[in-house]
């Protein structure tokens, strides 16, 4: 079985986000990218499938600062093939464009199963997974927290609110949007990653001309207004404790 995991890099929310001068995009000077957390889960789920059923596993992401690290880390975890899509990293914000370009590469690979994070925090025009699925004519199920291969099909655990799980059977080939892997993404040592850098090769594929249609045209970006902001209680632990106690009394909780 051929399993492909797709990932994208998103702004690291640990760093303060700034909006650039145009007012329609994030300031990239201070921007630091990190793998979309759910894509990391998708890679883990793919590794688990490989370990369970001996699948061949390919990881694909587009070129951006940190992409090599993600790819080498994936090899250190057990991935077989690494593909980096080379092109204008600024276009990556448009998921339609990315999905169309990725689909072209994916067609060649003829995967049985494509896993990717169900969403990313900077998605503005839908998510990559279902778009790729449609461009490839494959079925898609998202919000999945477990995948099993059974008799040439997959059975996935789809999450609903309230902890309800729907077990869905899906024909292959298919695309699955991962909400969480069956176990948290594993740790690989710096040395394993360094070894992977020495031995593994990243295939660089040019991104085809990007077609950005289907996305959103941002008019302005801003930080949430402070009008709705909480009344901040300042002071020492004792003072804050006393104030909270008053609040509890006001609400009638005591």
């Amino acid at each position: 079985m051929n399993v492909v995991a797709l990932f994208k890099l998103v702004p690291d929310l640990v760093e303060e986000l700034e909006i650039d001068q145009s007012g329609t995009a994030l300031n990239t000077d201070f921007l630091r990218l990190i793998i979309n957390e759910l894509d990391d889960h998708a890679i883990e789920q793919a590794i688990l499938l490989k370990e369970r059923s001996g699948a061949r596993m390919t990881v694909i992401g587009s070129d951006a600062e940190g992409a090599d690290d993600v790819l080498y880390t994936a090899v250190a975890k057990g991935a077989d093939q690494l593909i980096k899509l080379m092109g204008d990293p600024n276009a990556v914000i448009n998921n339609h464009a990315m999905a169309r370009a990725t689909a072209i590469v994916l067609k060649e690979l003829q995967p049985d199963l494509i896993l990717t994070g169900v969403q990313a925090h900077n998605d503005l025009d839908g998510s990559i997974g279902p778009l790729v699925a449609e461009y490839l004519g494959m079925p898609y199920v998202g919000y999945v927290s477990g995948v099993n291969v059974q008799n040439g099909r997959i059975v996935v655990r789809k999450e609903y609110p309230g902890g309800l799980i729907a077990e869905m059977e899906v024909d292959l080939p298919a695309v699955v949007g991962i909400q969480s892997a069956e176990q948290p993404p594993r740790y690989v040592t710096v040395n394993k990653v360094r070894q992977a850098m020495k031995t593994a090769a990243i295939e660089e594929r040019p991104l085809p001309a990007l077609d950005v249609s289907g996305g959103a045209a941002i008019r302005r970006m801003f930080k949430p207004e402070s009008a709705t902001r909480a009344k901040m209680i300042e002071g020492s632990t004792e003072e804050v404790t006393a104030r909270l106690l008053d609040i509890f009394k006001e609400i009638g909780a005591l």
Partner: protein
């Protein structure tokens, strides 16, 4: 020829309409006022027509088919693709949820229609305002000139605004052929039973990533006991296995509306806020001044929770003794 109507894809699960559906109807009304069209609910189901009765919509399009009894992506996509292509509304709203997002992106690609995701509200002139980057950034976009698909997140409108005492007209629409579906529902697996139902609790002490480890949850439990409430958690805490899924608050967990929601070390990502944003009084404790949780909380403090929570517990115990 495109009309100015706003369609809302109603989300329901096992015979119950999700709150987000009403919230979308309220959003659709706001948008319809800008575009000058009607609000039309789209209900897909099997023997589900009665769900339409309390919807604040001008019309309800009801598609009846046994394969639509419960959500599967394939059946929904096929049904909606035909419907949207045929009617050409101004916009179609989907919930930014396990159901809505499965359908919206696929339809955007299939029908070559633009898609705007994570829309929280609409400006007065009908521009979608979206919440991204874990709630730290808002983005306002133009509404494209063609039929536009949108996924909606809570925060902008209230479910009550999307309900009505008057049953709207229901127009039945023929379902397409739904044979040879590639995705089928095998079964539902119920969440772990036997635990308290956090959605019915008036006081909730909820913990997030900031709690650091499983042992520290104890201090939250003690505070909850002192307050007469229960503990709950955000996604990262449940993912680590530190608390059971039955205590999960948020998009993939339970939706809660307690009198008091104490958020300990919770950043306030939209997925979490979706589950607790309608609590009466939210009190957030987080050392990160910029945490988005402070945008939904009524009160906030940046005092370290490991200092504050034990102190608060003790004071509460004293007060209760007296």
């Amino acid at each position: 020829m495109m009309n100015q109507d706003i369609y809302v894809v109603i989300e329901h699960l096992r015979g119950k309409t999700a709150d987000i559906s009403y919230l979308m109807l309220a959003g659709a009304r706001a948008l319809a006022q800008a575009t000058g069209g009607e609000v039309i609910a789209v209900l897909l189901g099997h023997n589900a027509q009665s769900l339409a009765n309390n919807m604040a919509a001008d019309k309800v399009l009801y598609v009846e088919h046994p394969a639509l009894a419960e959500f599967t992506s394939d059946a929904y996509q096929r049904t909606l693709a035909g419907l949207i292509a045929g009617k050409e509304p101004r916009a179609v709203l989907f919930a930014s949820s396990s159901i809505g997002t499965d359908a919206a992106s696929v339809l955007s690609a299939r029908l070559k229609l633009p898609l705007i995701s994570s829309c929280q509200s609409f400006s007065a002139d009908g521009r979608p305002i979206c919440q991204i980057c874990g709630g730290k950034i808002m983005a306002e976009s133009d509404l494209p000139d063609t039929t536009t698909l949108l996924t909606m997140t809570p925060g902008g409108y209230k479910p009550e605004e999307g309900q009505s005492g008057k049953a709207p007209d229901v127009i039945k629409v023929e379902a397409p052929s739904l044979d040879n579906l590639r995705v089928t529902l095998k079964q539902y697996i119920e969440p772990e039973a036997g635990d308290v139902d956090i959605s019915k609790e008036p006081i909730i002490v909820s913990v997030g990533r900031g709690i650091q480890n499983q042992d520290n949850i104890e201090i939250a439990e003690e505070l909850a006991r002192a307050l007469g409430g229960v503990v709950a958690a955000s996604r990262p805490v449940v993912d680590q296995g530190w608390m059971s899924t039955s205590r999960l608050v948020g998009k993939s967990g339970k939706k809660v509306k307690p009198k008091i929601y104490l958020a300990l070390g919770i950043s306030g990502a939209p997925e979490h806020v979706e589950g607790m944003g309608e609590s009466e009084v939210i009190i957030a404790i987080n050392t990160d001044t910029n945490a988005p949780i402070f945008n939904v909380a009524k009160y906030g403090t940046t005092v370290d929770l490991f200092d504050l929570v034990p102190a608060l517990t003790e004071k509460l115990r004293e007060v209760k003794k007296v």
